[in-house]
């Protein structure tokens, strides 16, 4: 039996990697993938907590998150393509329009 804290540790590590990816990388594709990593880190925590507490709600939430993640990926990639067609780049440091 693996201790629940180990699952939570894995979850935290996955989430941390995701966060670092979102903050540090310049490629939007990578950032989107990092976001997926963060979501799945959370999923691990949900499932682990659900199994530990014997509550199926954790699993249900995990499925919920996966669904949202799938939708998010679809929309995100569509935006990415649109952005690429417009700006011919997916380097986030070159897209500096979000300012006053």
């Amino acid at each position: 039996m693996i201790a629940p804290s180990a699952y939570l540790l894995l979850s935290a590590i996955l989430f941390g990697i995701g966060v670092v990816g979102v903050v540090a990388r310049k490629n939007i594709l990578i950032i989107l993938m990092s976001v997926e990593l963060m979501l799945n880190g959370v999923n691990v925590a949900f499932v682990a907590a659900g199994s530990y507490l014997g509550d199926t709600a954790g699993g249900v939430f995990a499925f919920m998150v996966m669904t949202v993640a799938a939708a998010e990926a679809a929309v995100g990639l569509a935006l990415l393509i649109a952005l690429y067609r417009l700006k011919e780049t997916i380097d986030i440091t070159e897209l500096r329009v979000l300012k006053w």
């Binding site: 986030i92 440091t93 500096r96 329009v97 979000l98 300012k99």
Partner: protein
């Protein structure tokens, strides 16, 4: 008691208001679109004509170029249907109001003398704490006289206007203003309380403004309207303060209640002489504004920029007498303040003689009449000031007749001469406009105080009272008598210059000189009859008359005496005998003869200077150039006000604008804006546009939030 027709008193002001509504609808929906289409303009209304070029049926020298000639080809000659409707409605409603007023007054007269106050409460108007002001009308002998004069003379002037303004394009707009004026004026004289009277007071001011500036595209006309409005505002300020004081003292604004409480409050010491003086002086300040007395008379001569019937109705017969009416209405208060009475009498006398002298040198026919009006109003205040309120109202009435006639006659002259107002360019008009001449001559005799005509009785009553009354003095009589002589002089100067002698007209103008249509001459004739006979209701006892007028007004001005008279047996005779016993009859007749002699002297001098030795006036002017110059320029009063008041106010206001507004207020506003701006300038640098940066701050925020929550849970 069954009130009968008196219950319909509300119709008197309501009928002109109906005219306003009907004519207003016509003006808005029929006339305005038509004028706009004709002018081909998007917004401006009627054309500015000026007295100089409107109101002539003969072809006029066209001063206004293109727009005018457009009309000549367009709709000008065909009378639009709505004009006939307006020409019917406007005089009809005023005439109907006159009939109702007359019936009401007759019904009132059938009551006993001490029961001749009828109050009709229409609806509760203002209810706030202890302030209860109903919209209530009051008909008593004083307001009867005013209502009859206003509606009667008003009706004649409406009829006259139909002819005089027949070529005016903004025809409906004119009559809307005129009807609105009648409504406001009737509200003023029929109101039962100071506040409702003030509504009428302001209403007539507004109409005066609208009608002086009727030809608003002419700069001088719009300036004159503004001047009248601003100067009157100073007086209105006084009336307002007086109303506050009245309410503070009496706890009511209703005439009946206030005057009934006077004796009681006087006894209990609440109403001190000082308080009465303050109230009456403030009321009188309002009267000097509305009734054009020194120091606020300057607007009235300028008001002649308006159409001539307006000058006759508003600036001679009715509105300008509102101040006299108000003083007479508040006579119970004025009699308690001897200082105010002295001020009123002095200002009246000084105004009478001061403006009469200005009238000597004016060349514009309407301006002579304007100064004459100021002077005659001075007489009325002189009468009020010596306590002869009856004489003041009597003169108010006769003056309304003959001054309206003089103005309408001058309008007829101006009409005949295609807009010429300069008396130097008239002369010999007698044969061109016989009716106008005859009627105006009658009015001139009346104003000059020739015995037998209305002006004689009223003016002499004032002079006698200013001599014999306990407030009067020989000095006041002297000023009044001299002013009467000057009046006779300048009025005959006007008549001689206008109607007699050789023609000095432009040949072009002379060719078209013509008598006015019947709609103008009939009112002239009726007013001429009134100018002659109007004074017969007030023939003094010393001349064998019964002075009906005084007995009629007695309940208003001497409530106690009137009650005694009613209970006494031979009312009229007893009163007259009692009055006669106080003064010597010979003295009264002697003074009367003296003032008539002075007036005849004035006429004789005018005859000598303007008929016999026609070169003489110019010589006199040359001999005393400074004196002539000063009088010709109206004693430079306008220039003095410009320097002493207007310039100061402008300097002060400029100071306020530059120091207070521009520096202080704008400083606060701009300072606050600048602060936010510079703060924003610094803060905006955080927002660099790098998405990674935003993501990082998001993360930092989340970490801080979670850290805080963890910290809290650990601490607890």
């Amino acid at each position: 008691m069954v009130n009968g027709i008196l219950d319909y008193l509300w119709l008197v002001p309501a009928l002109p208001l109906l005219g306003v509504v009907l004519n207003g609808a016509i003006a808005l929906f029929a006339e305005r679109p038509l004028l706009l289409r004709e002018a081909g303009l998007p917004l401006t209304g009627g054309l500015g004509h000026g007295d100089a070029s409107h109101g002539t049926s003969a072809p006029v020298t066209d001063q206004h170029g293109a727009t005018h000639s457009d009309n000549a080809h367009g709709g000008r000659h065909e009378t639009p249907q709505y004009r006939k409707l307006v020409a019917f409605i406007a005089p009809a409603v005023v005439g109907a109001a006159f009939v109702v007023a007359l019936l009401c007054v007759l019904s009132l007269a059938s009551r006993p003398a001490d029961g001749r106050t009828f109050v009709q409460i229409l609806f509760p108007w203002i209810q706030a704490g202890s302030l209860l002001v109903p919209a209530a009308l009051q008909l008593d002998p004083l307001s009867s006289v005013m209502a009859l004069v206003v509606t009667g003379v008003g009706f004649l002037i409406h009829v006259y206007s139909v002819g005089y303004m027949s070529h005016e394009r903004a025809f409906a707009r004119y009559f809307v203003c005129l009807n609105l004026f009648m409504f406001a004026m009737l509200t003023l004289v029929l109101a039962n309380n100071y506040l409702l009277m003030f509504v009428g007071w302001e209403g007539v001011g507004l109409c005066s403004y609208l009608l002086i500036g009727f030809w608003y595209e002419k700069q001088s006309a719009s300036d004159a309207g503004k001047k009248a409005f601003v100067v009157n505002r100073i007086g209105d300020f006084g009336v307002l303060l007086a109303m506050f004081l009245v309410f503070w003292t009496f706890g009511s604004l209703s005439f009946t209640e206030v005057f009934a409480r006077v004796p009681l409050l006087r006894e209990s010491g609440v109403l001190t002489t000082g308080l009465a003086t303050a109230i009456t002086l403030l009321l009188f300040l309002g009267a000097t504004g509305k009734s054009a007395q020194i120091p606020l008379y300057v607007w009235l001569p300028d008001a002649m920029e308006g159409p001539t019937p307006v000058s006759a109705l508003i600036h001679a017969a009715t509105m300008v007498t509102a101040g006299v009416y108000m003083v007479a209405r508040s006579s119970a208060l004025f009699l308690l303040a001897p200082d105010t009475m002295m001020v009123v009498a002095t200002i009246g006398a000084v105004t009478a003689i001061f403006s009469a002298t200005i009238g000597i040198c004016q060349t514009d026919i309407k301006r002579v009449l304007a100064y004459s009006t100021v002077s005659q109003l001075g007489y009325m205040f002189l009468a009020c000031g010596v306590g002869a309120f009856t004489a003041a109202i009597f003169h108010l009435m006769t003056h309304a007749f003959f001054k309206a006639l003089l103005f309408l006659g001058s309008g007829s002259v101006i009409h005949a001469l295609s807009g010429e107002q300069d008396m130097r360019k008239m002369g010999g008009l007698k044969k061109y406009v016989p009716v106008t001449f005859a009627t105006m001559f009658v009015a001139t005799l009346a104003i000059a105080g020739v015995p037998g005509l209305s002006g004689f009785f009223s003016k002499d009553e004032i002079l006698w009272q200013s001599f014999s009354s306990s407030h009067g003095s020989p000095f006041l009589w002297g000023i009044g008598a001299v002013a009467a002589g000057i009046t006779a002089f300048y009025m005959f100067r006007l008549v001689f210059l206008t109607f007699f002698g050789k023609s000095r007209m432009d040949p072009e103008v002379e060719k078209h000189a013509h008598e006015s249509p019947w709609s103008m001459t009939v009112p002239l004739a009726i007013l001429a009859v009134l100018s002659v006979a109007g004074g017969w209701v007030g023939i003094p006892a010393v001349l064998g008359g019964s002075n009906l007028f005084e007995h009629w007004l007695a309940p208003v001005f001497h409530p106690v005496a009137a009650a005694e008279v009613v209970h006494g047996a031979a009312a009229g005779a007893a009163h007259a005998a009692e009055a006669g016993a106080h003064h010597s009859t010979t003295l009264e007749v002697g003074l009367m003869a003296l003032s008539v002699a002075i007036a005849l002297c004035g006429i004789a001098i005018a005859y000598f200077l303007y008929r016999v030795r026609t070169g003489k006036p110019a010589e006199i002017a040359k001999e005393w150039p400074t004196l002539y110059d000063v009088v010709y320029h109206k004693y430079y009063i306008d220039e003095f006000y410009e320097w002493a008041v207007i310039r100061r106010i402008v300097t002060f206001s400029t100071g306020l604008w530059e120091m207070f507004d521009a520096l202080f207020i704008d400083g606060i506003v701009n300072g606050a804006a600048g602060l936010v701006r510079s703060a924003g300038d610094r803060v905006r640098r955080i927002q660099g546009g790098v998405v990674g940066g935003y993501a990082f701050s998001l993360l930092a925020g989340a970490v801080l939030l979670v850290g805080y929550l963890l910290y809290r849970s650990v601490v607890q």
